[in-house]
Amino acid sequence: MSPVLQTHDLTAFYGDFQALFGIDMHLDEGETLAIIGANGAGKSTLLRAISGLLPHAADAVLLEGRPVGNLPAFELSHQGISMVPEGRKLFASLSVEENLKTGADAFTRPGFWSLERVYELFPILKERQHQPATSLSGGQQQMVAIGRALMSNPKVLLCDEISLGLAPVVIRDIYAALPQIREAGASVVVVEQDIGQAMKVADRVICMMEGRVTLEGTPADLSREAIHNAYFGDAA
């Protein structure tokens, strides 16, 4: 099976600071990949680079085998990469429904997801549809952010720290949506600080440290010790 998304020797910089050092990773069709790592490991930077927010070489990112690394973010969205950004980044002056609609306003491919389907996935959003998006609770806002990203029927859904700052019970509700998202045809990358959560939802896990991939494997393969070492560096 050919991967839907691949990076090859992907580097990224913030000014002079190099944040990613030659990342090689892939995401198979229908797969859920979790990226774990400590703060500042480069997880979010990797997602920002893949989604086109950070510039890099054209062949550093391949979508279904095509080089897309030089495309701007809005083009990548049209190509099928959709992002749930860190911190949700809802549009504060738009209602819940308007936020969802912005996900499909500029471009959408035919597929499973529509406004009605998103409301079926997260029924609470239908009740709140006319409220300002940022008046919702954190978990509900995260649902809006995920729904908004689904509206364009993406091939690849990138989720950046969707459990950050949420109560465990809320996190469970949000991750409960994942199976249906995969069933509808999206391959998913989740960046997750919570290792336990990542192990539960992912088919495969990669661990990053200081801008490099330090470990890769299926949750069953990875020992606690291996993860600990990959997370914090080898114990002296």
Binding site: L53, P85, K89, F91, A92, S93, T102, A106
Partner: protein, 287 residues
Amino acid sequence: MILIDTILQGVMLGGLYALFALGLSLTFGVMRLVNLAHGDLILLGSYIILTLAGSLYLPPLIAALVALPIMFVLGWALQRFLLNHALHDDILPPLIVTFGLSILIQNGLLAIFTADSRRLSLGGIEAQSFAVGPLNIGVLPLMTLLAAVLVVLLLNFVFFKTALGRAFRATSDDATTLTLMGRDTRRVFAIATGIALVVAGVAAFFLATRASINPSIGPARLIFAFEAVIIGGLGSFWGTLIGGIILGVAQTLGGSIDPEFQVLAGHLVFIAILFLRPRGLFPRAFD
């Protein structure tokens, strides 16, 4: 009764100021662009209408309608090829670029049209009025006010009922995230400036019919536009209309005390409101 008449004239004058201001309000609301050339662009619109009416012998209203799409293309191109390159996190480059543009337009108009005063003649409508009880209402000032109300209604429709309007509001919240939703924000900006200049074109028509114009009067229109936007509060088109009306009423009331006091009275009211309500009367913008 004279007082009521004076206020009424001020309200209608406010319609003109609102038309000056609405385009400015729009570009600032969408992309935080302070366009210092806005007054000169209105004046440029007036000269385009005058030229269409004068050399193509179009009736004035038709000339204005023909000028509106020209203004849209002009605004679109201006944003696409110039202002988008100046818009970054730093607020200074757009100010410098539009200030330069202002000088460029003034001198360009001076070179082409000379410093002579010109006026768009509507064939007598501009002098007509009708009586409502003891009051006399000028046809043209009333048309100006109605045009301003119509423009506010149309802008609000676009902003709150269409996908483009969602993009306008979303880009002002967070342009980067909007690109993740597949929007090319440079295009959104270009359309916004295009629409702003269409509104400027409407203002241009009434500016040229109300009194005579010459290439130097743009910056003063910009000041009135600024004052209307800020009195009304950033981000609300109705607020901008009210702001224009408050400015217009302040000016006519001031002028009725002493003609030399007219413009100053407007500025004083502006400063007073800025002092009492620094964010304007009806602010919507969050920053």
